[in-house]
């Protein structure tokens, strides 16, 4: 399992592509995730991050590519061949959702018990034993409850165990969803924007929780994140996506200083602010050193970028399968009205802000809204 680099690879994604109609949401993506590491998947809105998660967890069948998962036992699974529920049950991949999917009418305890369904169902001899109250089931049920208690304690919600999940504040719901995923006994934990909508204190608590999960359980965590402080602060390995393509892959420091990332991900107009924001953070101290060099490049980059951003039809939308290169699509689109019309609908679905909302100040937020309205989106 441990490869030459000494890392214990749990998931290896190779040449993954996902095409919706004419839209290439994920384009030939390859990366690896390792046990005991937090791998962050970042990129602007609509870059295809959630789509990658949906492919890994079996909710989408990828158009192309292979996703190999190796369990601790040495068993290997090709995730693209498993139905969604088996990805969790057999390959031990658990996930959370970008838009929370808690069982809001069930209590916290029940949420965590439902997560242990498979183990419990087996212990109840597929209901029949449980119906007659066999002691075998009772001991397992007690264990499941202990596990739930452990996780509720860990996320600081033990006192509210008997309240409905929908009654919790947002930050607590996020933590509960992570705890629920952990209760399935996963080896790979996929978190889709767990820090979205959290205040700084909650976000900090979340970081601690994730680091603790990684260290205590030697867990591999795959993390989609927009909040740069989370990404830079806790991830061991970052993969950057833009328009479905991988544009960078490496340590947080490497990625942060990668010009391609700065251009595509941070959005050039705001690079200065971003860099200031990053410099303010302890984790980004190193980046600050590289900042002056970047700043000198700014004006040039900015003009280039702006020009590019003016008349590009947003996504690389293709109608013909062989029309792959995105650049070709960009130039052709202007000349071919019929095709432009055909892509209008797709554009709406793909509408993406120019820049990702990382560490916004009110000023930039306002600027972005304006851009979204008038610009490419």
């Amino acid at each position: 399992m441990a490869d030459m680099t000494g890392k214990d690879t749990i998931l290896s994604v190779e040449h993954l592509s996902m095409i919706f109609g004419g839209l290439i949401a994920v384009n030939d993506l390859s990366f690896q995730a390792h046990r005991g590491e937090i791998t962050a998947l970042i990129g602007p809105n609509g870059a295809g991050k959630t789509t990658v998660f949906n492919c890994i967890t079996g909710f989408y069948k990828p158009t192309q590519g292979m996703m190999k998962l190796t369990r601790k036992t040495g068993e290997e699974f090709l995730l693209e061949r498993l139905p969604d529920f088996k990805v969790n049950r057999e390959a031990k991949v658990a996930r959370t959702f970008q838009n929370l999917r808690l069982f809001s009418g069930l209590t916290l305890l029940e949420n965590l018990l439902v997560a242990q369904h498979n183990a419990l169902n087996k212990a109840s001899y597929y209901t029949i034993g449980g119906l007659f109250g066999l002691s075998h089931y009772k001991t397992h049920a007690a264990e499941a409850k202990d596990k739930a208690r452990f996780w509720l304690d860990r996320i600081g919600l033990l006192a509210r165990a008997d309240d409905p999940a929908g009654d919790l504040p947002y930050g607590a719901q996020r933590r509960l969803e992570i705890a629920r995923a952990m209760c399935t006994g996963p080896e790979l934990l996929c978190l889709d924007e767990p820090a979205a909508g959290l205040n700084p204190r909650e976000s900090d608590e979340l970081n601690k929780l994730l680091l603790a999960i990684r260290d205590d359980h030697n867990m591999a965590i795959l993390l989609i994140e927009h909040d740069m402080s989370v990404v830079m602060g806790i991830s061991d390995h970052v993969v950057v996506l833009d328009y479905g393509k991988k544009i960078s892959d490496g340590t947080p420091n490497h990625v942060k200083n990668d010009p391609a990332v700065i251009r595509a991900y941070l959005g050039v107009e705001d690079v200065e602010e971003e860099l200031n924001a990053l410099a303010a953070e302890p984790a980004a101290k190193a980046a600050a050193a590289a900042a002056p060099a970047l700043k000198s490049e700014l004006p040039k980059l900015a003009t280039e970028f702006k020009r590019e951003r003016v008349n590009i039809p947003p996504p690389p939308v293709l109608t013909l399968p062989d029309e792959v290169p995105a650049v070709a699509a960009k130039t052709k689109a202007v000349a071919e009205p019929a095709r432009v019309a055909a892509t209008v609908a797709a554009k709406k679905a793909v509408a993406r802000p120019v820049k990702t909302p990382a560490k916004k100040t009110t000023k930039t937020a306002a600027k972005k809204t304006a851009k979204k309205k008038g610009g490419r989106a």
């Binding site: 808690l102 009418g105 069930l106 439902v114 119906l131 399935t184």
Partner: protein, 462 residues
Amino acid sequence: MTAQSQTQAPSQGNLFQNAIRDAIYAGIVVFGLFILLIGFKTDQNIKNELILVQRWGLLFSMVAAAMALRFVTTAFIQPALAARKAAKAAAKPAEKHGWLRDNFAKLALIFLVIYPFLMLALTGVNGSLKWVDNFGIQILIYVMLAWGLNIVVGLAGLLDLGYVAFYAVGAYAYALLSSYFGLSFWILLPLAGILAAFWGVILGFPVLRLRGDYLAIVTLAFGEIIRLVLINWTAVTKGTFGVSGIAKATLFGFVEFNAKPDGFAATFGLQMSTVWYKIFLYYLILALCLLTAYVTIRLRRLPIGRAWEALREDEIACRSLGINTTTTKLTAFAIGAMFGGFAGAFFAVRQGFVSPESFVFLESAVILAIVVLGGMGSLGGIAIAAIAMIGGTELLRQMDFMKVIFGPDFTPELYRMLIFGLAMVVVMLYKPRGFVGTREPSDFMHAERKAISGEFTKEGHG
């Protein structure tokens, strides 16, 4: 008008003045509304001529009823409600309900067990027949059906509009297998349940991928298909004539309920009457209901029951947690259908006659209405709703005195759907989640056991 009644502490005289004025307004409105609808009726006379019948009596009794109702509402009910609201607001929200409420289930069970003998004592051997059969058995059949449907709709959140199909499968399974092969009720009862469960799975497969409205429509069609098969497969089912002369149940195969010397009444030295058989049937359906309740309560605390409720809340989340939603849905369909099948077999043995007419869509709708009215997922609420709806129908049927008021061709039970519709609208306005809107969690971490508000509970979308 309500604004007036809300003014702080109106003096008594003022209140009655208001009430009388409101009553007069209501009377005028009702008169204007109903003069054409009820006051005049076009009819044909013997010579096939169109004639206008004037029904002033009926019209004015309606107007009088509306006026009286309005008067009572303004003069008594509204002040009482306001006073209660004020008292509630003043009282500390100490959530300590009385002893009666805590032991409601036990008391209800004791009452149900002694009910036939209570009626026997109160109304005599022949008088009790109506109370045991028309009220007791009839209501309990619907309680059982609604509890069965509750598994599918209330717990798993799968909207099934064709539940009566399983009731039909159970009924015909008993009717046909007993008349063709002479099998006894005690063998056929479980068999009817199994057959219905089997059909539940058959229905489940094609609808697994459907949700919401689509699911509702396909299940509705399934119910109709079963009924049409029963009508048209005349060689086996005798079509619309139905199957008659279905064998009675025996006392567990030992004693038969008949007038022979070795029959039940003779054996136990009782007065010859059909009431003994009815009482036996009453206890049989009571036992079946308790079985349904027991299984539902147990299942809710088992992984499968929790998976049903989770499925109702969010199917995608279920799949992400490794739950096989296909088998989970199928078990819900199968177990719900099984109880429908038991109830069907019981129905056949009670009537001694089955025909497709008993299994029309209206039955499905009534059962679903009971589940919704009672509060999805709540056994107690559903039982109360069944008593209100089915008992209410029976009560209307018994109301002969209405004929005296409204004329001899007034049949009160024809108005039952009108009344139920109105009642449902009112209940849904004031208790949108049914009589019992709270949900009892399946397990607790802490000692204090409290029901949770239904506010967050989803109705299911599949």
